[in-house]
């Protein structure tokens, strides 16, 4: 994309607490998301990873601490300006009946349009490009509701791309997809990252895919970051045991040499999950 020359800004959490009054899901969390890299956040259910993502995207406000964009508290940045830089694909986005793919992707242009500014050729060009890169151009006039799960996810990513963010946050973008479509989505995200330098932050359940696609892994447990680094540094049997209460063997992936988690049969220490 055109603005790919400028490096992505640094998104960081400083002493961040979040959740609900009386029940903090995240407690005094510090995290710097490396610009221009793919960061994947993993952790057991209810560890606070989705909450972290929603606070980073300003969907929820922190209870304490703050989120910074290049050192500026995001609470002081105008909403529309923030939306020009940071995009979010939530876990369960919804589209009204009959909405076509082209119309949905076009809605991603909202933060770039002024109050009195009409739709222009640059908007059309950006939407065209976003749809081409995600391979949904052919679907332009189809209703979103008629698409398969994999197609739909690519359409939503196209909408986020039309927004042209420098940082893209995705909450479990591969849930409900079969393995080949999971790979398709992750390959697409990697392409975006490699060609534009867009910072990509993904909450992911699939540990082995996370290890394979992430430049940096963030492992969370009980609202805290327990490990942060490359997959090779972070994904060890000890960390897996701490974060997932799971006994596992970690071996090199035969194809990519990234860590591969092999759970030990009957190795779960979770008796009654607090969820």
């Amino acid at each position: 994309m055109t603005s790919s020359s400028a490096p992505a800004p640094l998104l960081a959490a400083r002493g961040l607490s979040a959740g609900y009054p009386g029940r903090r899901v995240i407690e005094a969390l510090d995290l710097e998301i490396a610009p221009g890299r793919i960061t994947m956040i993993i952790g057991a259910n209810a560890c606070g990873k989705s909450t972290l993502l929603s606070v980073l995207a300003r969907v929820n406000s922190p209870l304490a601490g703050r989120v910074e964009l290049d050192g500026t508290d995001v609470a002081t940045i105008p909403r529309r300006g923030f939306a020009q830089t940071v995009g979010l694909l939530p876990q369960h986005p919804s589209a009204p009946d009959g909405l076509t793919v082209a119309e949905l992707v076009a809605r991603g242009r909202h933060p770039h349009r002024g109050v009195f500014q009409r739709w222009n050729a640059a908007d059309t060009e950006r939407v065209d490009e976003a749809m081409r890169r995600t391979g949904v151009t052919e679907l332009a006039d189809r209703p979103v509701g008629d698409l398969s799960g994999g197609q739909r996810q690519r359409v939503w990513i196209a909408m986020a791309l039309a927004q042209n963010p420098r940082i893209l946050l995705l909450d479990e973008p591969t849930t409900f997809l079969d393995l080949s479509h999971q790979i398709e989505v992750l390959d697409l995200l990697r392409d975006l990252n490699r060609s534009d330098g867009t910072t990509i932050v993904v909450v992911l359940h699939e540990l082995n895919l996370a290890a394979r696609y992430a430049d940096d892994l963030v492992v969370m447990s009980h609202g805290r970051v327990v490990a942060h680094g490359t997959a090779a540094e972070v994904m060890t049997a000890e960390v897996i045991s701490e974060a997932f209460s799971l006994e596992a063997l970690v071996i090199p992936d035969p194809l990519t040499q990234t860590p591969l988690v092999v759970p030990v049969p009957g190795g779960s220490h979770v008796v009654a999950d607090a969820e």
């Binding site: 979010l88 694909l89 009204p96 076009a106 739709w119 749809m131 979103v144």
Partner: protein
């Protein structure tokens, strides 16, 4: 536009969007033409019937005095009120339905009309109010309900659901309070209140039309803003925020505007039922692309109310019904049809 290497017939974004615009133009033109026909008939027929030629001449100021009086003082204000009130109700319905992602959400079912109704009935029966002050009282009643709705809907997560449930509860409460007041009242007063409660456009003076028109124009910028925001909040709160829109602001603005439009019309013509529910439900499938359809709903609402008033005046020879009787009858049939053909609509 950039060249896209795809199958020859592959529609580009520009083409799809141009289709959407073209379809909207056709739909709005069609509805407005139908409205012109209904308006012409409304102005012509009646005890003093005018031929199309006479009507045309009268409209351009060339009619006889009695013709001018019938058209401009008796029929035109009634027709104008039907158009303005119908459009306002159509907009209010479209706003609430898109906000709540619920095709049943409308000012009548959410108790906004009910609140205005209770206040007005209280004004007529207990305080003995008539005239302009009654409109203000009805408006305040709608505002009280709106406050409750916003309080109920302010909770994060399930706010929209709570708002709908609160609205349904409030509307039942209003029915019961109205019933209590009516049974306690003297027959003559109750009769007057009942006609108001049914909703009627009969004997509308021009200044009533003017007030509703002014309020609608004042609300227009907020309506336009909602028209830009609602397509984004439709995609879920998370997506809306990530596109720079605050769902809380959208909710408050939308509800306040819908209440303003509903209770203002309600104040003058009574709680006319079903227009706000039906107009967007007809406009959306006509547009057919998941649109919010505020403008089209306004046009459809105007057509529906003007048409319903025509039926109300002349369907039964010699008897002029309150328009609310007709909208209620037609609207309930429409609601049943909506139920039969619905396959899990999602807005």
């Amino acid at each position: 536009m950039t060249a896209v290497a795809t199958r020859p017939s592959a529609p580009t974004v520009g083409m799809v969007r141009a289709q959407v615009r073209r379809r909207r133009r056709i739909v709005v033109t069609g509805v407005v033409l139908a409205l012109v026909v209904v308006a012409a008939v409304s102005l012509s027929v009646g005890d003093y019937a005018l031929s199309p030629v006479d009507l045309w001449r009268t409209l351009w100021g060339g009619g006889e005095r009695v013709e001018s009086y019938v058209v401009f003082q008796l029929r035109a204000p009634r027709l104008a009120m039907a158009i303005v009130a119908g459009a306002a109700l159509g907009v209010a319905g479209a706003l609430l339905q898109s906000l709540l992602s619920n095709p049943l959400a409308s000012p009548d079912l959410l108790g906004i009309s009910g609140g205005a109704g209770v206040a007005a009935v209280f004004g007529i029966l207990v305080l003995g109010i008539v005239g302009p002050l009654l409109a203000l009282v009805a408006f305040l009643g709608g505002l009280v309900v709106a406050t409750f709705l916003l309080l109920a809907g302010s909770r994060r997560g399930d706010g929209e659901y709570r708002l709908v449930v609160a609205g349904i509860g409030i509307s039942f409460l209003c029915v019961s309070i109205t019933g209590y007041l009516m049974t306690r009242a003297q027959v003559e007063l109750a009769q007057a209140a009942l006609i108001w409660l049914t909703g009627t456009l009969a004997s509308t003076p021009w200044w009533n039309v003017l007030v509703v028109l002014i309020v609608s124009v004042v609300a227009l910028p907020a309506v336009i803003a909602c028209g830009r925001w609602l397509p984004l909040t439709q995609l879920g709160a998370g997506t809306a925020v990530s596109l720079g829109v605050r769902p809380g602001v959208v909710r408050i603005t939308t509800v306040v505007v819908a209440v303003l439009l509903t209770s203002t019309t309600c104040a003058f013509v009574g709680p006319i039922s079903f227009i706000a529910l039906c107009a967007p439900a007809i406009a959306r499938p006509l547009l057919g692309h998941g649109a919010v359809g505020i403008g089209t709903s306004a046009a459809v609402g105007a057509l529906l109310l003007a048409g319903a008033d025509l039926i109300a005046q002349y369907a039964i020879p010699g008897i002029s019904l309150p328009v609310g009787v007709v909208t209620g009858a037609l609207g309930s049939v429409f609601l049943l049809w909506l139920l039969m053909t619905s396959k899990g609509r999602h807005l």
